[in-house]
Symmetry: C2
Subunit: 289 residues, 2 copies
Protein backbone atom coordinates (compact mmCIF):
# COMPACT_ATOMS: atom_id res chain seq x y z
CA UNK A 1 0.00 0.00 0.00
CA UNK A 2 1.21 3.52 -0.77
CA UNK A 3 -0.04 6.68 0.92
CA UNK A 4 -2.10 9.14 -1.12
CA UNK A 5 0.08 12.17 -1.88
CA UNK A 6 -2.50 14.74 -3.04
CA UNK A 7 -4.92 16.54 -0.72
CA UNK A 8 -6.80 19.42 -2.37
CA UNK A 9 -6.98 22.39 -0.03
CA UNK A 10 -10.76 22.28 0.38
CA UNK A 11 -10.53 18.64 1.44
CA UNK A 12 -7.85 19.60 3.97
CA UNK A 13 -10.37 22.06 5.39
CA UNK A 14 -13.11 19.44 5.33
CA UNK A 15 -11.18 16.80 7.26
CA UNK A 16 -10.69 19.31 10.09
CA UNK A 17 -14.45 19.92 10.22
CA UNK A 18 -15.21 16.21 9.98
CA UNK A 19 -12.77 15.45 12.81
CA UNK A 20 -14.73 17.86 15.02
CA UNK A 21 -18.17 16.71 13.89
CA UNK A 22 -17.54 13.09 14.68
CA UNK A 23 -16.39 13.62 18.24
CA UNK A 24 -18.78 11.96 20.69
CA UNK A 25 -20.19 9.57 18.11
CA UNK A 26 -19.86 5.95 19.26
CA UNK A 27 -18.03 5.06 16.04
CA UNK A 28 -15.60 8.00 16.23
CA UNK A 29 -12.65 5.64 16.69
CA UNK A 30 -13.21 4.45 13.10
CA UNK A 31 -12.50 7.94 11.77
CA UNK A 32 -9.02 7.23 10.39
CA UNK A 33 -7.25 9.85 8.38
CA UNK A 34 -4.44 7.82 6.84
CA UNK A 35 -5.48 7.00 3.29
CA UNK A 36 -3.79 4.60 0.89
CA UNK A 37 -3.85 3.06 -2.54
CA UNK A 38 -2.71 -0.37 -3.59
CA UNK A 39 0.67 -0.26 -5.37
CA UNK A 40 -0.64 -2.14 -8.39
CA UNK A 41 -3.21 0.58 -9.14
CA UNK A 42 -0.53 3.22 -9.71
CA UNK A 43 0.00 2.52 -13.45
CA UNK A 44 -3.71 3.08 -14.08
CA UNK A 45 -3.50 6.47 -12.39
CA UNK A 46 -0.81 7.60 -14.82
CA UNK A 47 -2.50 7.22 -18.20
CA UNK A 48 -5.98 6.57 -19.60
CA UNK A 49 -7.11 3.07 -20.54
CA UNK A 50 -7.90 1.92 -24.06
CA UNK A 51 -11.58 2.76 -24.76
CA UNK A 52 -11.85 -0.45 -26.78
CA UNK A 53 -11.61 -2.31 -23.48
CA UNK A 54 -14.53 -0.48 -21.90
CA UNK A 55 -17.95 -1.98 -21.31
CA UNK A 56 -20.82 -0.10 -22.93
CA UNK A 57 -24.06 0.41 -21.01
CA UNK A 58 -26.61 -2.30 -21.76
CA UNK A 59 -26.33 -6.05 -22.20
CA UNK A 60 -22.52 -5.87 -22.20
CA UNK A 61 -22.67 -5.46 -18.45
CA UNK A 62 -23.42 -9.16 -18.16
CA UNK A 63 -19.78 -9.76 -19.03
CA UNK A 64 -19.19 -8.82 -15.40
CA UNK A 65 -20.88 -12.12 -14.56
CA UNK A 66 -18.32 -14.16 -16.51
CA UNK A 67 -15.60 -15.95 -14.56
CA UNK A 68 -12.25 -14.20 -14.36
CA UNK A 69 -11.54 -10.61 -15.23
CA UNK A 70 -12.20 -8.10 -17.95
CA UNK A 71 -9.27 -6.78 -20.01
CA UNK A 72 -9.58 -3.54 -18.10
CA UNK A 73 -10.68 -3.78 -14.49
CA UNK A 74 -9.05 -0.45 -13.65
CA UNK A 75 -8.90 2.75 -15.59
CA UNK A 76 -10.69 5.74 -17.01
CA UNK A 77 -11.24 6.94 -20.54
CA UNK A 78 -13.28 9.07 -22.91
CA UNK A 79 -15.69 6.86 -24.86
CA UNK A 80 -16.43 9.68 -27.27
CA UNK A 81 -19.74 11.42 -27.94
CA UNK A 82 -19.78 12.88 -24.45
CA UNK A 83 -19.51 9.76 -22.33
CA UNK A 84 -16.66 9.07 -19.91
CA UNK A 85 -15.95 5.65 -18.45
CA UNK A 86 -14.47 4.43 -15.20
CA UNK A 87 -13.61 0.87 -14.18
CA UNK A 88 -12.31 0.21 -10.68
CA UNK A 89 -11.52 -2.94 -8.76
CA UNK A 90 -10.91 -2.91 -5.02
CA UNK A 91 -10.25 -5.78 -2.66
CA UNK A 92 -12.04 -6.44 0.62
CA UNK A 93 -10.09 -9.10 2.50
CA UNK A 94 -11.78 -10.34 5.71
CA UNK A 95 -15.06 -8.82 4.49
CA UNK A 96 -18.38 -10.54 3.73
CA UNK A 97 -21.25 -9.57 1.42
CA UNK A 98 -23.38 -9.06 4.54
CA UNK A 99 -21.02 -6.30 5.62
CA UNK A 100 -21.24 -4.59 2.22
CA UNK A 101 -25.05 -4.70 2.08
CA UNK A 102 -25.27 -3.46 5.64
CA UNK A 103 -22.86 -0.59 4.99
CA UNK A 104 -24.85 0.71 2.06
CA UNK A 105 -27.80 1.70 4.24
CA UNK A 106 -26.10 2.09 7.64
CA UNK A 107 -23.91 4.96 6.42
CA UNK A 108 -26.96 6.91 5.22
CA UNK A 109 -28.56 7.21 8.67
CA UNK A 110 -26.54 10.24 9.79
CA UNK A 111 -24.01 12.38 7.97
CA UNK A 112 -21.06 11.66 10.27
CA UNK A 113 -21.10 7.97 9.34
CA UNK A 114 -20.43 8.89 5.73
CA UNK A 115 -17.22 10.68 6.75
CA UNK A 116 -15.72 7.38 7.98
CA UNK A 117 -15.65 6.24 4.38
CA UNK A 118 -13.38 9.05 3.10
CA UNK A 119 -12.54 11.50 5.89
CA UNK A 120 -11.04 14.12 3.56
CA UNK A 121 -13.72 14.13 0.90
CA UNK A 122 -17.09 13.08 2.27
CA UNK A 123 -19.48 15.67 3.64
CA UNK A 124 -22.87 14.00 3.98
CA UNK A 125 -25.07 11.20 2.62
CA UNK A 126 -28.61 11.01 3.92
CA UNK A 127 -31.30 8.56 2.86
CA UNK A 128 -34.53 10.25 1.83
CA UNK A 129 -36.77 7.36 2.87
CA UNK A 130 -36.04 7.17 6.59
CA UNK A 131 -38.76 4.63 7.38
CA UNK A 132 -36.98 1.72 5.75
CA UNK A 133 -33.81 2.39 7.70
CA UNK A 134 -35.30 1.43 11.05
CA UNK A 135 -38.25 -0.79 10.08
CA UNK A 136 -37.76 -4.28 11.57
CA UNK A 137 -37.60 -7.35 9.40
CA UNK A 138 -36.22 -5.88 6.18
CA UNK A 139 -33.24 -7.28 4.36
CA UNK A 140 -30.27 -4.92 4.22
CA UNK A 141 -30.69 -4.35 0.49
CA UNK A 142 -34.31 -3.30 1.03
CA UNK A 143 -33.04 -0.37 3.09
CA UNK A 144 -31.14 1.18 0.15
CA UNK A 145 -32.45 -0.22 -3.14
CA UNK A 146 -35.20 2.13 -4.40
CA UNK A 147 -34.07 4.63 -1.81
CA UNK A 148 -32.38 7.93 -2.76
CA UNK A 149 -29.37 9.36 -0.96
CA UNK A 150 -28.75 13.08 -0.89
CA UNK A 151 -24.98 13.25 -1.12
CA UNK A 152 -22.32 15.94 -0.83
CA UNK A 153 -18.70 15.06 -1.37
CA UNK A 154 -15.53 16.30 -2.97
CA UNK A 155 -14.57 14.53 -6.17
CA UNK A 156 -11.01 15.73 -6.45
CA UNK A 157 -10.83 19.45 -5.68
CA UNK A 158 -14.47 20.11 -6.51
CA UNK A 159 -17.56 19.68 -4.40
CA UNK A 160 -20.28 17.56 -5.89
CA UNK A 161 -23.88 17.81 -4.66
CA UNK A 162 -25.86 14.89 -6.01
CA UNK A 163 -28.70 12.45 -5.57
CA UNK A 164 -28.01 8.75 -5.88
CA UNK A 165 -31.11 6.71 -6.61
CA UNK A 166 -30.26 3.06 -5.97
CA UNK A 167 -31.97 0.52 -8.19
CA UNK A 168 -31.98 -3.18 -8.90
CA UNK A 169 -29.10 -4.15 -11.24
CA UNK A 170 -31.68 -5.31 -13.77
CA UNK A 171 -32.27 -1.63 -14.56
CA UNK A 172 -28.80 -1.70 -16.10
CA UNK A 173 -29.67 -4.86 -18.07
CA UNK A 174 -27.84 -7.13 -15.63
CA UNK A 175 -29.33 -10.64 -15.41
CA UNK A 176 -29.97 -10.72 -11.67
CA UNK A 177 -30.98 -14.41 -11.69
CA UNK A 178 -27.41 -15.24 -12.71
CA UNK A 179 -25.66 -13.16 -10.04
CA UNK A 180 -25.53 -15.84 -7.38
CA UNK A 181 -23.97 -18.45 -9.66
CA UNK A 182 -21.39 -15.80 -10.60
CA UNK A 183 -20.53 -15.57 -6.90
CA UNK A 184 -21.93 -12.05 -6.77
CA UNK A 185 -23.76 -11.55 -3.50
CA UNK A 186 -24.03 -7.83 -3.23
CA UNK A 187 -24.67 -4.80 -5.42
CA UNK A 188 -25.13 -1.07 -5.25
CA UNK A 189 -26.24 0.30 -8.59
CA UNK A 190 -27.76 3.68 -9.14
CA UNK A 191 -28.65 6.68 -11.18
CA UNK A 192 -26.66 9.74 -10.15
CA UNK A 193 -28.21 13.18 -10.64
CA UNK A 194 -26.75 16.60 -10.10
CA UNK A 195 -28.84 18.62 -7.66
CA UNK A 196 -28.40 21.95 -9.42
CA UNK A 197 -29.34 21.89 -12.22
CA UNK A 198 -31.46 18.81 -11.64
CA UNK A 199 -30.10 16.46 -14.27
CA UNK A 200 -29.57 12.73 -14.27
CA UNK A 201 -25.97 12.45 -15.40
CA UNK A 202 -24.18 9.25 -14.35
CA UNK A 203 -24.78 5.50 -14.30
CA UNK A 204 -23.08 3.70 -11.44
CA UNK A 205 -22.63 -0.04 -10.98
CA UNK A 206 -21.04 -1.79 -7.99
CA UNK A 207 -20.97 -5.59 -7.90
CA UNK A 208 -19.14 -7.62 -5.30
CA UNK A 209 -17.80 -11.09 -5.95
CA UNK A 210 -16.49 -13.69 -3.53
CA UNK A 211 -12.75 -14.22 -3.35
CA UNK A 212 -10.66 -16.67 -1.35
CA UNK A 213 -10.16 -14.17 1.45
CA UNK A 214 -13.30 -12.01 1.30
CA UNK A 215 -14.74 -10.26 -1.72
CA UNK A 216 -13.74 -7.90 -4.50
CA UNK A 217 -15.72 -4.89 -5.63
CA UNK A 218 -15.97 -4.13 -9.32
CA UNK A 219 -17.23 -0.61 -9.98
CA UNK A 220 -18.22 0.90 -13.29
CA UNK A 221 -19.30 4.47 -14.01
CA UNK A 222 -20.55 6.03 -17.23
CA UNK A 223 -20.49 9.81 -16.94
CA UNK A 224 -22.84 11.58 -19.31
CA UNK A 225 -24.18 8.38 -20.87
CA UNK A 226 -27.76 9.47 -20.37
CA UNK A 227 -28.73 13.03 -19.60
CA UNK A 228 -32.20 13.65 -18.31
CA UNK A 229 -33.50 16.99 -17.25
CA UNK A 230 -35.87 16.81 -14.32
CA UNK A 231 -38.61 19.41 -14.51
CA UNK A 232 -41.74 19.50 -12.42
CA UNK A 233 -41.49 15.82 -11.55
CA UNK A 234 -41.07 14.84 -15.20
CA UNK A 235 -37.96 13.57 -16.84
CA UNK A 236 -36.87 14.88 -20.23
CA UNK A 237 -34.18 12.95 -22.10
CA UNK A 238 -31.77 15.49 -23.54
CA UNK A 239 -28.84 13.14 -24.16
CA UNK A 240 -28.64 13.76 -27.90
CA UNK A 241 -28.67 17.55 -27.84
CA UNK A 242 -26.36 17.60 -24.80
CA UNK A 243 -23.87 15.36 -26.58
CA UNK A 244 -24.04 17.16 -29.90
CA UNK A 245 -23.48 20.51 -28.22
CA UNK A 246 -20.48 19.10 -26.36
CA UNK A 247 -22.09 19.96 -23.03
CA UNK A 248 -21.16 16.69 -21.37
CA UNK A 249 -17.51 16.93 -22.42
CA UNK A 250 -17.44 20.43 -21.03
CA UNK A 251 -19.05 19.56 -17.70
CA UNK A 252 -17.69 16.04 -17.40
CA UNK A 253 -14.51 15.66 -19.43
CA UNK A 254 -11.79 13.05 -18.89
CA UNK A 255 -10.64 14.98 -15.83
CA UNK A 256 -13.91 14.18 -14.07
CA UNK A 257 -13.58 10.49 -14.97
CA UNK A 258 -10.02 10.47 -13.65
CA UNK A 259 -11.10 12.05 -10.38
CA UNK A 260 -13.98 9.58 -10.08
CA UNK A 261 -11.60 6.66 -10.61
CA UNK A 262 -9.14 7.95 -8.01
CA UNK A 263 -11.98 8.70 -5.59
CA UNK A 264 -13.45 5.21 -5.97
CA UNK A 265 -10.06 3.60 -5.40
CA UNK A 266 -9.35 5.61 -2.29
CA UNK A 267 -12.77 5.38 -0.68
CA UNK A 268 -13.24 1.64 -1.17
CA UNK A 269 -9.66 0.78 -0.23
CA UNK A 270 -10.27 2.77 2.92
CA UNK A 271 -13.69 1.25 3.59
CA UNK A 272 -12.20 -2.23 3.25
CA UNK A 273 -9.74 -1.40 6.01
CA UNK A 274 -12.42 -0.52 8.59
CA UNK A 275 -15.44 -2.58 7.53
CA UNK A 276 -14.86 -5.87 9.40
CA UNK A 277 -14.30 -4.21 12.77
CA UNK A 278 -17.00 -1.61 12.20
CA UNK A 279 -19.51 -4.34 11.36
CA UNK A 280 -18.46 -6.37 14.33
CA UNK A 281 -19.14 -3.41 16.60
CA UNK A 282 -22.19 -1.81 14.94
CA UNK A 283 -23.67 -4.51 12.70
CA UNK A 284 -27.04 -6.26 13.15
CA UNK A 285 -28.03 -6.96 16.72
CA UNK A 286 -25.66 -4.30 18.03
CA UNK A 287 -28.34 -1.59 18.37
CA UNK A 288 -26.66 0.51 15.80
CA UNK A 289 -29.47 1.71 13.55
CA UNK B 1 10.51 7.63 -0.99
CA UNK B 2 6.86 7.27 -1.97
CA UNK B 3 5.49 7.45 -5.51
CA UNK B 4 3.34 10.42 -6.47
CA UNK B 5 -0.28 9.22 -6.72
CA UNK B 6 -1.95 12.10 -8.58
CA UNK B 7 -1.48 12.82 -12.28
CA UNK B 8 -3.88 15.44 -13.66
CA UNK B 9 -5.18 14.38 -17.07
CA UNK B 10 -3.53 17.21 -18.97
CA UNK B 11 -0.17 16.24 -17.50
CA UNK B 12 -0.80 12.64 -18.57
CA UNK B 13 -1.24 13.99 -22.08
CA UNK B 14 1.87 16.14 -21.78
CA UNK B 15 4.17 13.32 -20.70
CA UNK B 16 3.24 11.42 -23.85
CA UNK B 17 4.17 14.43 -25.99
CA UNK B 18 7.37 15.02 -24.03
CA UNK B 19 8.34 11.36 -24.43
CA UNK B 20 8.12 11.80 -28.20
CA UNK B 21 9.81 15.20 -28.31
CA UNK B 22 12.88 14.07 -26.46
CA UNK B 23 13.64 11.08 -28.69
CA UNK B 24 16.98 11.55 -30.43
CA UNK B 25 18.28 14.08 -27.95
CA UNK B 26 21.63 12.97 -26.50
CA UNK B 27 20.20 13.29 -22.96
CA UNK B 28 17.01 11.35 -23.69
CA UNK B 29 18.06 8.56 -21.31
CA UNK B 30 17.62 11.04 -18.44
CA UNK B 31 13.91 11.39 -19.24
CA UNK B 32 12.61 9.32 -16.33
CA UNK B 33 8.92 9.17 -15.66
CA UNK B 34 8.85 7.66 -12.18
CA UNK B 35 8.31 10.52 -9.76
CA UNK B 36 8.56 10.42 -5.99
CA UNK B 37 8.28 12.38 -2.78
CA UNK B 38 10.19 11.89 0.44
CA UNK B 39 8.07 10.18 3.09
CA UNK B 40 8.72 12.89 5.65
CA UNK B 41 7.12 15.55 3.44
CA UNK B 42 3.71 13.83 3.51
CA UNK B 43 2.41 15.52 6.69
CA UNK B 44 3.04 18.93 5.14
CA UNK B 45 0.96 17.95 2.12
CA UNK B 46 -2.05 17.21 4.33
CA UNK B 47 -2.62 20.53 6.09
CA UNK B 48 -1.47 24.13 5.85
CA UNK B 49 1.37 25.44 8.00
CA UNK B 50 1.02 28.06 10.71
CA UNK B 51 1.37 31.49 9.05
CA UNK B 52 3.17 32.75 12.16
CA UNK B 53 6.09 30.55 11.10
CA UNK B 54 6.36 32.11 7.64
CA UNK B 55 9.10 34.50 6.58
CA UNK B 56 7.88 37.86 5.29
CA UNK B 57 9.52 39.40 2.24
CA UNK B 58 12.32 41.81 3.18
CA UNK B 59 15.07 41.64 5.79
CA UNK B 60 13.54 38.55 7.38
CA UNK B 61 14.95 36.51 4.51
CA UNK B 62 18.36 36.80 6.12
CA UNK B 63 17.13 34.30 8.69
CA UNK B 64 17.78 31.77 5.94
CA UNK B 65 21.47 32.51 6.52
CA UNK B 66 21.32 31.44 10.18
CA UNK B 67 22.66 28.00 11.11
CA UNK B 68 20.09 25.25 11.47
CA UNK B 69 16.54 25.35 10.30
CA UNK B 70 13.48 27.58 10.40
CA UNK B 71 10.42 26.44 12.36
CA UNK B 72 8.76 25.73 9.05
CA UNK B 73 10.99 24.54 6.23
CA UNK B 74 8.06 22.88 4.47
CA UNK B 75 4.50 24.02 4.01
CA UNK B 76 2.09 26.44 2.45
CA UNK B 77 -0.28 28.99 3.92
CA UNK B 78 -2.32 32.10 3.38
CA UNK B 79 -0.52 35.11 4.89
CA UNK B 80 -3.64 37.24 4.56
CA UNK B 81 -4.16 40.38 2.51
CA UNK B 82 -3.77 38.46 -0.70
CA UNK B 83 -0.36 36.88 -0.22
CA UNK B 84 0.26 33.13 -0.18
CA UNK B 85 3.45 31.56 1.12
CA UNK B 86 5.36 28.42 0.27
CA UNK B 87 8.41 26.96 2.02
CA UNK B 88 10.04 23.85 0.61
CA UNK B 89 13.19 21.96 1.48
CA UNK B 90 14.61 19.30 -0.81
CA UNK B 91 17.79 17.27 -0.45
CA UNK B 92 20.47 16.79 -3.11
CA UNK B 93 22.75 14.00 -1.98
CA UNK B 94 25.83 13.46 -4.21
CA UNK B 95 25.23 16.92 -5.71
CA UNK B 96 27.49 19.97 -5.69
CA UNK B 97 26.71 23.69 -5.97
CA UNK B 98 28.48 23.66 -9.36
CA UNK B 99 25.87 21.24 -10.64
CA UNK B 100 23.03 23.44 -9.41
CA UNK B 101 24.43 26.64 -10.97
CA UNK B 102 25.11 24.82 -14.22
CA UNK B 103 21.60 23.35 -14.34
CA UNK B 104 19.94 26.73 -13.99
CA UNK B 105 21.22 27.92 -17.35
CA UNK B 106 21.79 24.60 -19.15
CA UNK B 107 18.12 23.64 -19.00
CA UNK B 108 17.10 26.90 -20.68
CA UNK B 109 18.98 26.24 -23.91
CA UNK B 110 16.29 24.08 -25.53
CA UNK B 111 12.80 23.16 -24.40
CA UNK B 112 13.35 19.41 -24.22
CA UNK B 113 15.94 19.80 -21.48
CA UNK B 114 13.33 21.38 -19.23
CA UNK B 115 11.14 18.27 -19.51
CA UNK B 116 13.85 16.18 -17.79
CA UNK B 117 13.12 18.15 -14.63
CA UNK B 118 9.43 17.17 -14.37
CA UNK B 119 8.39 14.98 -17.31
CA UNK B 120 4.68 15.23 -16.56
CA UNK B 121 4.44 18.96 -15.94
CA UNK B 122 7.14 20.84 -17.80
CA UNK B 123 6.51 22.14 -21.31
CA UNK B 124 9.26 24.63 -22.09
CA UNK B 125 11.74 27.06 -20.53
CA UNK B 126 13.77 29.19 -22.91
CA UNK B 127 16.28 31.87 -21.97
CA UNK B 128 15.62 35.20 -23.71
CA UNK B 129 19.25 36.28 -23.75
CA UNK B 130 20.82 33.52 -25.84
CA UNK B 131 24.25 35.18 -26.14
CA UNK B 132 25.22 34.55 -22.54
CA UNK B 133 24.39 30.84 -22.83
CA UNK B 134 27.24 30.08 -25.22
CA UNK B 135 29.69 32.94 -24.61
CA UNK B 136 33.01 31.53 -23.38
CA UNK B 137 34.48 32.51 -20.06
CA UNK B 138 31.34 33.32 -18.09
CA UNK B 139 30.56 31.86 -14.71
CA UNK B 140 27.49 29.65 -14.64
CA UNK B 141 25.50 32.18 -12.61
CA UNK B 142 26.21 34.85 -15.21
CA UNK B 143 24.29 32.76 -17.74
CA UNK B 144 21.00 32.98 -15.80
CA UNK B 145 21.15 35.88 -13.33
CA UNK B 146 19.66 38.96 -15.06
CA UNK B 147 18.37 36.67 -17.77
CA UNK B 148 14.65 35.98 -18.27
CA UNK B 149 13.20 32.56 -18.97
CA UNK B 150 9.97 32.19 -20.91
CA UNK B 151 8.36 29.25 -19.14
CA UNK B 152 5.31 27.04 -19.69
CA UNK B 153 4.48 24.35 -17.18
CA UNK B 154 1.58 22.76 -15.39
CA UNK B 155 1.24 23.74 -11.76
CA UNK B 156 -1.19 21.07 -10.66
CA UNK B 157 -3.92 20.65 -13.25
CA UNK B 158 -3.51 24.14 -14.71
CA UNK B 159 -1.09 25.40 -17.28
CA UNK B 160 0.98 28.39 -16.27
CA UNK B 161 2.64 30.61 -18.86
CA UNK B 162 5.13 32.88 -17.15
CA UNK B 163 8.35 34.82 -17.32
CA UNK B 164 10.98 34.26 -14.65
CA UNK B 165 13.44 37.11 -14.38
CA UNK B 166 16.40 35.90 -12.32
CA UNK B 167 18.08 38.46 -10.09
CA UNK B 168 20.78 38.70 -7.49
CA UNK B 169 19.47 37.65 -4.04
CA UNK B 170 20.21 41.17 -2.81
CA UNK B 171 17.08 42.28 -4.65
CA UNK B 172 15.18 40.34 -2.01
CA UNK B 173 17.18 42.03 0.78
CA UNK B 174 19.47 39.03 1.25
CA UNK B 175 22.97 39.95 2.44
CA UNK B 176 24.96 38.33 -0.32
CA UNK B 177 28.33 38.97 1.37
CA UNK B 178 27.23 36.61 4.14
CA UNK B 179 26.11 33.75 1.89
CA UNK B 180 29.43 31.99 1.71
CA UNK B 181 29.97 31.90 5.46
CA UNK B 182 26.44 30.47 5.75
CA UNK B 183 27.61 27.63 3.46
CA UNK B 184 25.32 28.87 0.71
CA UNK B 185 27.05 28.50 -2.62
CA UNK B 186 24.21 28.73 -5.08
CA UNK B 187 21.00 30.65 -5.63
CA UNK B 188 18.20 31.10 -8.11
CA UNK B 189 16.00 34.01 -7.12
CA UNK B 190 13.56 35.71 -9.39
CA UNK B 191 10.50 37.74 -10.15
CA UNK B 192 7.76 35.69 -11.72
CA UNK B 193 5.31 37.38 -14.07
CA UNK B 194 2.23 36.04 -15.77
CA UNK B 195 2.43 36.43 -19.53
CA UNK B 196 -1.24 37.25 -20.04
CA UNK B 197 -2.11 39.63 -18.52
CA UNK B 198 1.44 40.89 -18.11
CA UNK B 199 1.68 41.18 -14.33
CA UNK B 200 4.53 40.59 -11.95
CA UNK B 201 2.95 38.28 -9.40
CA UNK B 202 5.35 36.07 -7.46
CA UNK B 203 8.67 36.35 -5.58
CA UNK B 204 10.80 33.23 -5.72
CA UNK B 205 13.90 32.42 -3.68
CA UNK B 206 16.07 29.33 -4.00
CA UNK B 207 19.19 29.04 -1.83
CA UNK B 208 21.35 25.95 -1.61
CA UNK B 209 23.38 25.07 1.45
CA UNK B 210 26.12 22.48 1.89
CA UNK B 211 25.26 19.31 3.78
CA UNK B 212 27.39 16.33 4.77
CA UNK B 213 26.44 14.42 1.65
CA UNK B 214 25.75 17.16 -0.91
CA UNK B 215 23.49 20.18 -0.53
CA UNK B 216 19.95 21.08 0.44
CA UNK B 217 17.71 23.48 -1.42
CA UNK B 218 15.53 25.85 0.54
CA UNK B 219 12.82 27.42 -1.62
CA UNK B 220 10.47 30.21 -0.68
CA UNK B 221 7.63 31.67 -2.74
CA UNK B 222 5.35 34.59 -2.02
CA UNK B 223 2.39 34.57 -4.36
CA UNK B 224 0.74 37.95 -4.83
CA UNK B 225 3.12 39.80 -2.51
CA UNK B 226 3.77 42.47 -5.11
CA UNK B 227 1.56 42.97 -8.11
CA UNK B 228 2.90 45.09 -10.91
CA UNK B 229 1.14 45.70 -14.15
CA UNK B 230 3.48 45.92 -17.11
CA UNK B 231 2.26 48.37 -19.71
CA UNK B 232 4.29 49.70 -22.60
CA UNK B 233 7.58 48.86 -20.95
CA UNK B 234 6.57 50.59 -17.71
CA UNK B 235 5.73 48.93 -14.45
CA UNK B 236 2.73 50.07 -12.42
CA UNK B 237 2.47 48.86 -8.82
CA UNK B 238 -1.14 47.85 -8.23
CA UNK B 239 -0.55 45.70 -5.14
CA UNK B 240 -2.81 47.72 -2.84
CA UNK B 241 -5.88 47.89 -5.09
CA UNK B 242 -5.39 44.27 -6.16
CA UNK B 243 -5.26 43.15 -2.52
CA UNK B 244 -8.15 45.29 -1.36
CA UNK B 245 -10.35 44.03 -4.18
CA UNK B 246 -9.45 40.45 -3.29
CA UNK B 247 -8.08 39.86 -6.78
CA UNK B 248 -4.99 38.03 -5.62
CA UNK B 249 -6.98 35.66 -3.40
CA UNK B 250 -9.24 34.95 -6.33
CA UNK B 251 -6.45 34.30 -8.81
CA UNK B 252 -3.93 32.85 -6.38
CA UNK B 253 -5.69 31.41 -3.35
CA UNK B 254 -4.30 28.77 -0.99
CA UNK B 255 -4.93 26.14 -3.67
CA UNK B 256 -2.28 27.75 -5.87
CA UNK B 257 0.18 27.82 -2.99
CA UNK B 258 -0.49 24.16 -2.27
CA UNK B 259 0.09 23.23 -5.90
CA UNK B 260 3.29 25.29 -5.98
CA UNK B 261 4.55 23.52 -2.85
CA UNK B 262 3.78 20.07 -4.26
CA UNK B 263 5.29 21.02 -7.62
CA UNK B 264 8.50 22.27 -6.01
CA UNK B 265 8.84 19.12 -3.93
CA UNK B 266 8.33 16.83 -6.90
CA UNK B 267 10.50 18.68 -9.40
CA UNK B 268 13.48 19.17 -7.12
CA UNK B 269 13.31 15.68 -5.64
CA UNK B 270 13.33 14.44 -9.23
CA UNK B 271 16.13 16.77 -10.33
CA UNK B 272 18.26 15.60 -7.42
CA UNK B 273 17.93 12.03 -8.67
CA UNK B 274 19.34 12.78 -12.14
CA UNK B 275 21.65 15.75 -11.58
CA UNK B 276 24.97 14.05 -10.69
CA UNK B 277 24.93 11.72 -13.69
CA UNK B 278 23.53 14.37 -16.03
CA UNK B 279 26.30 16.77 -15.00
CA UNK B 280 28.90 14.10 -15.38
CA UNK B 281 27.75 13.49 -18.94
CA UNK B 282 26.82 17.00 -20.11
CA UNK B 283 28.56 19.37 -17.69
CA UNK B 284 31.41 21.79 -18.50
CA UNK B 285 33.94 20.51 -20.98
CA UNK B 286 31.49 17.94 -22.34
CA UNK B 287 30.43 20.04 -25.36
CA UNK B 288 26.93 20.29 -24.07
CA UNK B 289 25.99 23.93 -24.56
Amino acid sequence: MIPVTYYPVKTQELVVKNRERIKGKPYAHFFREEIFLHDDVLPFLKSPMDPAKALRPGDELNRLLEPGYQDAENGYCDLGKGTMYVASLTRFPRCTPEMFRWWFWWHSVEAERYTLWFPYNHVSAIAQNRDVLARPGLEDWQRYVENTHTVSEFIGPERSDIFIHFVDPSEFCIDTRALSSANIHGHACGHVSLQRPGIRAVSMVHLIRDTDDGFELRSRYWLGDRIELEIAGRSLNITKPAHSLGITEHVMGPGKAYEQFLHDQIEFTHLASILPDLYSEFGPGKNSA
